[in-house]
Amino acid sequence: MQALTPAPAAIELRGIDKSFGVVHAVRGVSLRIEPGTITGIVGENGAGKSTLMSILYGLYRADAGEIWIGGQPAEMASPRDAIGHGIGMVHQHFMLIDTFTVLENLVLGAEGGALLAGGLAAARAELARLARDYGLSVDPDARVADLSVGEQQRVEILKVLFRGARILILDEPSAVLTPQETDRLFDILRTLKARGVTIILITHKLREIVAATDRVYVMRQGKIVAERRTRDTGSEELAELMVGRKVRLDLEKVPVRQGEILLSTEHLSLVDDRGVRLLDDVGIELRAGEIVGIAGITGNGQSELLQVLSGIRAPSAGRLTVCGHTIDPGHPGNPAHMRELGLAHVPEDRLRQGLVAAFLASETSILGYQDGPPFTRNYLLDGPAVGAHCAELMERFDVRPRSPGLRSSHFSGGNQQKLVLAREIARLPRVLLVGQPTRGVDIGAIEFIHRELVKARDSGCAMLVVSVELDEILSLADRILVMFAGRIVGEVEPGRADERTLGLMMTGAAAA
């Protein structure tokens, strides 16, 4: 007599592999997800989590590997196949059409007939039922553009349920939510689980894994490096597995020698066209020879702070003083002027701001400094001088390959970052703004970049570092400011800071 076989897995992935050009994004991933559970997949940015889920959902095709759904092999050529297998996905960037109503978004792709009227009426009734069953209420006739981010996410979940999905994938669902909205989301997920829905939660936030999941897979550099039952593990172990190294980098730093104030802001505010307050009464002081770290969850005003400080955006109120020069709404600055004052800026997103992918490395090495000597003489760019400058930067910052004539896009992320950093540090700026110094950079380059930043600080540069990586802030900064909802909510010394208090402050739950 045959033994009873265990219930088949809701999803089983076997040896999934995927490359984009030279980037090997997912490397032979196998995993198993039990029905009616919440499974977490954690990993740093760029670890391959989203790509893996896009393959499961049919948005990308794997180069190799198999997908099994409920014990049957399945072909995921397009999202249609995934939907057919009862899989629904809530994407990090919502797949909602702004100009459509909630109802129209809900029925798109599942209209139930060639004419809309009948389908919309049926959907309205179904929406009411879902709202009752799962406590997910939202106005069916509201335009999506008018909804809050949390409500939009609810629409996304409703879309998935409306199609009768039994497996729900959420990609970084809390990235755009306030803590309250996040708690609300987890309540919803628990309700769904209680009704038998299988949930996959992709995140890089450990708190959420611990709070919400039954089982967790850890991804690093495209591979699954660990699998744990959530109750058998904790944040610390997961963090170490995620980054693959000791969380705290031991950076040798001489004690800080603060000098004069080189950058300060008073009541600095920024309000966008729609009246949303992005920066709210920000007051900071930056002294020569110190590194001030800005900690916070993405989207709490850090990007906007960098934009205003670097002259890209003019403040709506308040004022900013850089090396004795004042900028306020009546006297907006601009990036070129800020550079003249001695301010340099390593932007958060090197590909979108810091370099031009199609330019030669030598051209990228003068971005922002092209006007005036030493690169422009008599109205003409001095090609040999530009090339020599780039070669020198590459030598000093160990950029590989050492080819000023190679296109910027042909360098790896770490080497691109080193080139951008070299460009900004080389001029010995008095003030240096650094956004996400090591995003998408390999470990060797991370240590190199950190040492260079500390070197610049020791030579008297006033430095502001914005990073979403808490350990980076902790190891680099001499003072830590925490941002939440566009405000500076507290200041901590790194010696006295621990991740928990910082974490609480970052979610606006506590102030120092």
């Binding site: 984009f20 959902y57 948005l59 990308y60 397009s78 999202p79 249609r80 196949d81 995934a82 939907i83 057919g84 996905m89 994407h91 797949m95 909602l96 059409i97 702004d98 100009t99 459509f100 129209e104 029925v107 798109l108 792709g109 599942a110 209209e111 007939g113 060639a114 004419l115 809309l116 009227a117 389908g119």
Partner: protein, 306 residues
């Protein structure tokens, strides 16, 4: 009194005559643009259709064969546009410009080779043309009524049907359409082909309805005026229809005003009135008359993997 009535009637009739190809073209363009494919090649499609309508009608003696040929010719160019913009993700404006130039050249080349009349087709008579149905003096051939019906049809398709919903979605955010399990390419091809159908009818109207034969460059910018009407109507069917009527009326007025001195104004240059559709559209685009918001994804090729 009678005179006033007949004046109004004649003005209305001539407005409608001029507006018919604009309306057809604008409704076609609306489908394309709503689906996210910018079409500056309306002019070329219409011109090619006009040529093949007249040529086929002259050879077969049947206006209906002419209409069929016009639609086929316009659809061929529409498919080319789809191939370039959807399958090969080329630049939509470049493709449209290419189609315009190709049509401007090919109609004359083929016309000269086939009829040896310097690019014109032989004059069409009798059944070779679409004849007025009710009012001979108004020139109300079948395509005028098709144009009038095309407006509620277009509105209804876009606003009330499943295809319309998906079309609007693919013009706003193709990624969402893809994620919903629908084919972006198939929707966009259907949009482009619908556009070809209407542009074809517009071309047939020009050469075998309104006129008795094809002459070189006979569209004379009407495809672009239709494009202007779409923008002026803010990518909505009824307002675009209204814009076509206004532009048609301007044209009718321009013909009436030729050489007429208006009290207080003097002689209004005909060219100014002819340029009005373009100038008005520029004013609208500049945000001086409300705001025209194009479908968000219009003009952007859809690329899933990069």
């Amino acid at each position: 009194m009678d005179e006033a009535f007949s004046f109004v009637f004649l003005m209305l009739a001539s407005t409608l005559r001029v507006a018919t190809p604009l309306v057809l073209c604008a409704m076609g363009g609306l489908f394309s643009e709503k689906g996210g494919i910018v079409d500056v090649g309306l002019e070329g499609k219409m011109l090619m259709a006009a040529f093949f309508a007249a040529a086929t009608s002259a050879i077969t003696g049947s206006a209906w064969a002419g209409v069929a040929a016009a639609v086929i010719a316009a659809e061929a160019l529409a498919l080319l546009h789809g191939l370039a913009c959807v399958t090969y993700r080329g630049n939509q404006v470049v493709s449209g410009v290419a189609i315009n130039i190709l049509a401007a050249g090919l109609t004359v080349v083929l016309g000269t080779a086939w009829f040896a009349r310097g690019g014109q087709t032989p004059p069409l008579v009798g059944d070779q043309r679409l004849m007025p149905i009710f009012l001979p003096e108004a020139g109300d051939n079948i395509l005028v009524y098709v144009a009038l019906l095309s407006v509620p049809f277009t509105w209804w398709i876009i606003a009330r049907t499943r295809f319309g919903l998906r079309l609007r979605a693919v013009g706003e955010m193709p990624l969402a359409v893809d994620a919903a399990g629908l084919s972006v390419a198939s929707l966009r091809y259907r949009a482009v082909l619908l556009c070809g159908l209407f542009a074809g009818l517009a071309g047939a109207y020009l050469s075998i309805g309104q006129n008795a034969g094809f002459s070189r460059d006979m569209t004379a910018g009407q495809g672009f005026i239709a494009l202007a009407a779409i923008i002026f109507g803010k990518w909505r069917a009824w307002p675009a229809f209204g814009a076509c009527l206004i532009f048609g009326l301007l044209d009718a007025v321009a013909i009436r005003l030729q050489g007429v001195r208006l009290p207080g104004l003097g002689e209004v240059p005909v060219q100014l009135i002819q340029a009005m559709p373009y100038l008005l559209t520029m004013f609208l685009l500049a945000g001086f008359i409300g705001r025209a918001v194009a479908p968000k994804a219009a003009g952007v090729p859809y690329e899933k993997e990069h």
